[in-house]
C-alpha cells in the first residue's frame, strides 16, 4: 500500500464522484427550482447511453455521440416537460414521484424494444484510450477526462450561478418563485430552460459513462438509488449539496470497497440513515 496506490484510489474516487455529480446535479437543480422530484432523470441517463451507442454506431465517432446524445435527451426531456412535468408541478411530491416512477417503467420497455435485452458497450474515443502518467501513476486517460468533465461542469455551473444575471435569477427563483416573477422574471421559461439543462446533463452523464460502464436496460433503476442518496444527503436543491454529496458517496464507496469490502454494500445506506436522523434536511439544504 504505497503512495501510488492511494493516488490511484483517490483518482478512482474522484472519477466516481464526478459521474455521480453529473447525474445528481441535474436532479437537484430541477428539484430546487421546480420543486419536482423527477425520478425519470435516471431514465434520461439511460437514454443518453443508448442513444450515444446508436449515434456512435451510425457516425463511427464517439465525439458525435458525446455531443448529440445530450441533445436528443434534451429533446425527450422537452417533450416530457410539456406533456407531463409542467402539469404535475403543483401536484405535490407524492404524485410527482409516482408519475415519474411510471415513466421509468415506460422507458425501460422502450429501451428493450429499441435496443434489446443484451447489454451493450460503447468504445471511448481512440485519443483517450490509453493511460496517462499523473502524479507518478498511470491512470486511464478516459477516466481523467471524466474527472475533468465533472470538474469543468462544476466550475461552469458555479460561475454561472454565482456570477451571472441568469444565475442570480435561478437562485432567486429557487428561493422565492413568486417574488422573482413579481420582478418581471419569466419563471416558467426559466424553469423550462433549467429543466432542459438538467436533462442535457443526464444525457451527458449517460453517454460519458457508457465507455466505462455498459449500457443495460436496468442501468437507470440501478443508478437511481445512488443518485437520490447523493441528492438527499447533500440537501435537495442545492449545488453545494450535490457536490458534497457526490464527493462523500464517491469517496466512501471507493475507499469502503478497498478497506472494508464486506461492509461496502451497506455503507451508503448506513450513511444515508445517519445523515437523515442527524440532519433530516440533508447537509446543505437549499434556501427557500
Amino acid at each position: 500500500m504505497d503512495l501510488s496506490f492511494w493516488i490511484l484510489q483517490f483518482l478512482n474516487a474522484m472519477q466516481y464522484s464526478m459521474l455521480l455529480f453529473l447525474l445528481s446535479i441535474g436532479l437537484t437543480v430541477i428539484f430546487g427550482l421546480l420543486h419536482f422530484v423527477n425520478l425519470a432523470h435516471a431514465s434520461l441517463y439511460m437514454m443518453g447511453a443508448y442513444i450515444g451507442i446508436s449515434v456512435a454506431a451510425m457516425t463511427g465517432s464517439f465525439w458525435a455521440a458525446f455531443f448529440l446524445a445530450p441533445m436528443f435527451v434534451t429533446l425527450i426531456g422537452a417533450v416530457l416537460y410539456f406533456t407531463l412535468i409542467d402539469r404535475m408541478r403543483t401536484a405535490g411530491p407524492m404524485n410527482q414521484v409516482l408519475v415519474t416512477f411510471g415513466l421509468i417503467f415506460v422507458f425501460l420497455d422502450l429501451v428493450r424494444m429499441g435496443w434489446g435485452d443484451i447489454a451493450l458497450g460503447l468504445d471511448g474515443p481512440a485519443s483517450l484510450s490509453g493511460t496517462t502518467r499523473l502524479l507518478g501513476v498511470d491512470y486511464p486517460a478516459y477516466r481523467l477526462f471524466i474527472i475533468a468533465l465533472g470538474l469543468g461542469v462544476m466550475a461552469t455551473m458555479w460561475l454561472v450561478l454565482a456570477r451571472t444575471q441568469i444565475g442570480a435569477m435561478i437562485r432567486a427563483s429557487v428561493e422565492n418563485t413568486n417574488m422573482a416573477a413579481a420582478l418581471g422574471i419569466n419563471v416558467s421559461k426559466l424553469f423550462f430552460l433549467v429543466f432542459c439543462f438538467g436533462c442535457a446533463l443526464a444525457g451527458l452523464a449517460g453517454v460519458a459513462a457508457a465507455p466505462i460502464l455498459s449500457a443495460t436496460t436496468t442501468m437507470g433503476i440501478t443508478i437511481l438509488i445512488p443518485t437520490l442518496i447523493v441528492v438527499v444527503i447533500g440537501g435537495l436543491g442545492s449545488l453545494e449539496g450535490a457536490i458534497v454529496g457526490s464527493v462523500i458517496i464517491g469517496f466512501m464507496e471507493t475507499f469502503g470497497a478497498v478497506m472494508i469490502p464486506s461492509f461496502s454494500a451497506v455503507l451508503t445506506y448506513a450513511l444515508l440513515a445517519v445523515v437523515l436522523i442527524w440532519r433530516p434536511q440533508g447537509l446543505i439544504p437549499a434556501r427557500g
Binding site: 500500500m1 496506490f5 490511484l8 484510489q9 478512482n12 474516487a13 472519477q15 466516481y16 459521474l19 428493450r112 434489446g116 435485452d117 443484451i118 447489454a119 451493450l120 458497450g121 468504445d123 471511448g124 484510450s129 490509453g130 493511460t131 498511470d138 491512470y139 486511464p140 478516459y142 477516466r143 465507455p211 466505462i212 460502464l213 455498459s214 443495460t216 436496460t217 436496468t218 442501468m219 440501478t222 443508478i223 464507496e253 471507493t254 475507499f255 470497497a257 478497498v258 469490502p261 464486506s262 461496502s264 454494500a265
Partner: protein, 387 residues
C-alpha cells in the same frame, strides 16, 4: 419468440378451443413447459435458451410432437415457483425445461421433487441442485458452478501460475464459482493471495478493486462476472492497462458480450463448457443452422437450450412417454452435441462434459475464441447427493 408462441396459442385458443383440445388428446405428444426469464436482468439469457431449444426441435422435424408452454419467471423465486406449479397442475406438462437463476431453482426444488415432474435445468448452476439437494427429477444439461471453475484452477497451477487474486460478485453463485476454483488451484499447489467479493448489482466502478488486485502482486487475477458486470469489468481492466493477466470463468468473455467489451477482451483466458469456435462437425452444423435461423452467433446459453431439447428428445426416443418414464430416462442420456461428447451422470444427474480453456483473440478484425486446451469429461463429485 415468446410473442409468436403466445399469439399462436391465443389464436388457437380463441378460434379452435374445442378442436385444439381434441387434437392434443388425439396425438401422443409431449408437453414441455419452458420456464425462463423474459423480463428483467436475465431476459437475454431466457431468449437465447428459448432460441436454442426451439431450433433443436425444429431441426429434428419434431415440432408436431412437442407442445411448448412458455412462462416468464422474471428472475423472482416466488414467481418461478408459482409458474412451475401452474405448468404442473394446470397445463399438466410432462416435463419442465429452463430455469436461469439459482434462486428460482432453489424455490422450485422441493416442489419438483414432490410432484415428480422431471426438470431439465438449462442454466442455473447452483452446486447444491446436483449435490446435497439433488433429486431424481432434476437433471442438469448446462453446468454446475464448480464444474466450470475447478478445471481452470488445476490447469492454471499446472501451467506455471503460482499466485492468484480472485474477484467475484458477492452472491451465492459468485462464492461457489470462486470456492471451486480456489479449492482446485490450492490443491494443485497454487496460492490465492487475495480475494474480494464486490456488491452484486451495485458495483459500477471496479477501479478500486482492480487497483487492489494489481497491488497484491499476484501472478494473475481470476474472476467470475457475467452479463453487464462482465462488460464493465473487462473494459475497466483494459482501460487500467493492468499487466497482471486476467483469467476467469468463461462467462466473462462470452460471445454474447465480447463485442461490447471490445479490444479489452483480447488475451483474457477463461474456461467454459462451450466455445463457438470448437472445430467439430456437430458444432459447425449447429452454428450454421443457428445462424440461418437467427442471423447471429450462438452463445453458450443457446447451446444449453439446444441440449435441453436434445436430451429431452433422446429420453423420448428411449421410451419416455410420461412424467415417470421421462424422469427415469433423462439421467441415461448421452450423445455428442455442439459442445462435444456429453452424458448425464446418474449419480448426481449433473452433466458430464468437456471444459475448454480458451483465449479471446483478434482474428481478421473480429474478436473470436481460440481454444488452448480441453479438459475432457469433467464430472462433479457426488458431494452429498443421495438419489
Amino acid at each position: 419468440m415468446k410473442n409468436i408462441a403466445t399469439k399462436l396459442a391465443l389464436v388457437t385458443g380463441l378460434c379452435l378451443n374445442l378442436g385444439f383440445t381434441m387434437i392434443s388428446t388425439a396425438s401422443a405428444e409431449t408437453k414441455v413447459g419452458l420456464l425462463l426469464p423474459y423480463t428483467g436482468t436475465y431476459a437475454s439469457l431466457g431468449n437465447a435458451i428459448t432460441e436454442g431449444f426451439e431450433l433443436a426441435i425444429e431441426e429434428a422435424g419434431r415440432t408436431e410432437e412437442f407442445t411448448i408452454v412458455i412462462e416468464d419467471t422474471e428472475m423472482k423465486p416466488p414467481v418461478g415457483l408459482a409458474k412451475a406449479r401452474k405448468l404442473v397442475y394446470q397445463d399438466e406438462v410432462d416435463v419442465i425445461a429452463g430455469v436461469v437463476s439459482s434462486g428460482v431453482l432453489g424455490a422450485m426444488r422441493d416442489f419438483i421433487h414432490q410432484s415428480q415432474v422431471p426438470l431439465i435445468v438449462a442454466n442455473a448452476g447452483n452446486n447444491l441442485a446436483t449435490g446435497e439437494n439433488c433429486s431424481p427429477y432434476i437433471v442438469r444439461v448446462s453446468f454446475s458452478n464448480g464444474q466450470i471453475n475447478r478445471p481452470m484452477g488445476t490447469w492454471l497451477s499446472e501451467n506455471g501460475v503460482k499466485t492468484i487474486y480472485t474477484l467475484a460478485p458477492d452472491y451465492a453463485a459468485g462464492h461457489q464459482m470462486i470456492d471451486a476454483f480456489t479449492e482446485a488451484f490450492t490443491a494443485a499447489g497454487g496460492e490465492v493471495i487475495g480475494s474480494e467479493f464486490t456488491p452484486f448489482g451495485q458495483t459500477k466502478d471496479f477501479g478500486p478493486y482492480l487497483t487492489n488486485a494489481q497491488a497484491s502482486g499476484a501472478d494473475g487475477i481470476f474472476v467470475f462476472y457475467a452479463g453487464g458486470e462482465a462488460i464493465n469489468f473487462v473494459k475497466q481492466y483494459g482501460s487500467f492497462n493492468i499487466k497482471t493477466p486476467l483469467y476467469g470463468s468463461g462467462f466473462l468473455t462470452s460471445p454474447l458480450y465480447v463485442e461490447a467489451e471490445g479490444d479489452a477482451a483480447i488475451g483474457v483466458r477463461a474456461s467454459l463448457h462451450y466455445i463457438p469456435t470448437l472445430d467439430t462437425a456437430e458444432n459447425k452444423a449447429f452454428i450454421k443452422a443457428f445462424q440461418a435461423k437467427y442471423n447471429t452467433m450462438p452463445s453458450e446459453y443457446a447451446v444449453q437450450g439446444y441440449d435441453a431439447a436434445l436430451a429431452l428428445m433422446a429420453a423420448v426416443d428411449n421410451g419416455g412417454v410420461d412424467r415417470a418414464t421421462l424422469a427415469s430416462q433423462l439421467p441415461h442420456v448421452s450423445y455428442v452435441g455442439p459442445r462435444g461428447p456429453l452424458e448425464i451422470d446418474p449419480a448426481t444427474n449433473n452433466i458430464v462434459q468437456n471444459i475448454y480453456i480458451y483465449d479471446t483473440v483478434m482474428e481478421n478484425g473480429a474478436l473470436t475464441q481460440k481454444i488452448i486446451d480441453t479438459v475432457p469429461a469433467v464430472r462433479d463429485d457426488v458431494a452429498g447427493c443421495q438419489m
